[in-house]
Amino acid sequence: MEAYLLAIAITALVYVLLTLGLNFQYGFTGLINFGYVGFFALGAYASAICTVRLGWPAWTGFAIGIVVPALLAWPIGRVALRLRDDYLAIVTLGFSEIVRLVIVSEKDLTNGNQGIAGVPKLFAGVAGPGYADGVLAAVLVLAVVLVALLMRAIVKSPYGRLIQAIRDDETALLALGKDPARFKTQVLMLGAAIAGFAGSFYAHYIGFVTPEQFVPIVTFQVWMAMIMGGVGRLRGAVVGAFMLLVILEGSRVARDIVPGVSEVAMSSARLAVIGLALILFIRFRPQGLLGIKRD
């Protein structure tokens, strides 16, 4: 039971990181990124490739997993940020699919559909195998706190006011002589770096990576966590991510209680719950649980 709760906590913390990054992009700057899972995948694969295939130490995976997504976010920003919101959504969604297709195809590097197994657990050497997950959870809490503090510092700074102004009235900002595209690109890059960071943790925790783990639905789960918690609220990311995990895991627990339900049926039911929650939240509580109502 404790191991199970710990597993949920670690997954939830990874989602908290992802939600923080997405909240930075959408909640504060208004960028509709539907390809968030692509950056997450890049971080996870960076760690897996560095540690398993190249035999490098884990920190190199983290470093590459943060830098590469940020660098790849740059051209996307250049292309899409001159366009309307809907286009950014479609372009980023396309980007995450390209990432997945590249992972599937470049077998020499990624081992294709089989994925890469045996990503080492972090801290197994330091804490002993039994306590590695506990230490990982503690480190993740620390990482979440640091990222949240960083976000808070950014949001409260003049720079933060500027990006929120982009969200609220881009034309006014243009009239003041600022270049919104530049700031949006920076926000996109920083958000991507956070996703990559979360991806590295995820790969080390789960222990294997396959392209199947990085399908678009993950992006929308993060969106859901953000919406449930509260768009533009840092604390909301924590609440939302844990609520998401309750929904995802609740359906798994329900399967143990209700007999005779197949795994496939349950995964369908889970999809229905996610979809319904998304629809209902947007309709009745678009500001989320902790959000502030804005027009």
């Binding site: 699919e97 590249v102 369908s268 039911a269 319904l276 947007i282």
Partner: protein
């Protein structure tokens, strides 16, 4: 192995068939975008719904293609209309993102519904095997030819409706300027309802086409979503003819690129083309520049 000219011609023909099939969901995407102002991410799942509707009618009537066409169109239209009534209509005055996210949620619900009611096993249309039609060195799969015909006829009807009927005119008026359309007395709710039914019918026909060409499963249609988006963006969102031409271009290009980039990357090609088009002509290939983008 060197490919001869007719190998390329055959690839182009395959691409044409593929493009004509993607043209239908692309048309549905662009129609919804033009009138309701958001990219509808549930389009792929309406296509799957049409797939199952067509399959049910096909089995019930012992293999009548006309009945499957009706079944697919009915299932697509019903799903689309219900989606409009239950999910989209209450949000009509909200920001486009609320509608977009709702369409994603609706897509999940539909996929889950289909998974629970019809199962996840891949099902096939029981159609007799037919020999490929030969024109010299050129081969045409009769199924492809049939699918292309459905697609062309469906598009012809849609364009006729949009161009020559008063229902089509009101839809175009709303697409052009919603407020102005209301001022001159157009019942925008009714017109929206008709638009959703029309887009559902298109998806339903696409469902039959997809089912005949490939297979039937709850996820089958969702895989068409991104190509359809790409085609609609390339043609210019909101431009029906652009969406169709964009889809055909993409289909032909994808197939012709297969010998060079392989099977997986040909899918990525459509996104890359989309990105290039957005760089070069952000309004799409066939749209005029509008004031605000």
């Amino acid at each position: 192995m060197d490919l001869l000219w007719f190998d390329y011609a055959n690839l182009a023909l395959n691409g044409l068939a593929e493009g004509l099939m993607i043209a239908l969901p692309a048309l549905a995407v662009t129609l919804v975008f033009g009138v309701a102002r958001f990219p509808n991410a549930a389009v792929g799942d309406f296509v799957s719904l049409g797939c199952f509707g067509a399959l049910a009618a096909h089995r019930a009537t012992g293999g009548s293609i006309a009945a499957s066409l009706a079944g697919g169109a009915a299932a697509g239209a019903l799903g689309s209309w219900l989606g409009w009534k239950l999910a989209f209509q209450p949000l009509m005055r909200r920001h486009g993102l609320a509608l977009l996210l709702t369409s994603i949620g609706l897509g999940f619900v539909l996929r889950a519904f289909m998974g629970l009611s019809f199962g996840h096993e891949i099902q096939l249309f029981d159609v007799p095997l037919m020999k490929a039609l030969r024109f010299g060195p050129l081969l045409v799969n009769p199924i492809d030819a049939m699918v292309a015909c459905f697609s062309l006829v469906c598009m012809g009807i849609v364009f006729g409706l949009l161009r020559f009927t008063s229902a089509g005119r009101t839809m175009r008026a709303i697409a052009c300027d919603m407020d102005l359309a209301r001022v001159v007395g157009i019942d925008s709710r009714a017109a929206m309802g008709r638009m959703w039914v029309l887009s559902g019918v298109i998806c339903g026909v696409a469902g039959l086409a997809l089912g005949l060409k490939t297979q039937v499963s709850p996820e089958a249609g969702a895989d068409l979503l991104l190509p359809a988006f790409a085609a609609a963006v390339i043609g210019g969102l909101g431009n029906p003819l652009g969406a169709v031409l964009g889809a055909i271009c993409l289909g032909v290009m994808q197939e012709l690129s297969t010998p060079f980039v392989g099977f997986t990357y040909k899918i990525a090609l459509s996104y890359v083309v989309m990105l290039l088009v957005l760089l070069w002509r952000p309004q799409g290939l066939f749209n005029r520049v509008q004031g605000v983008r």
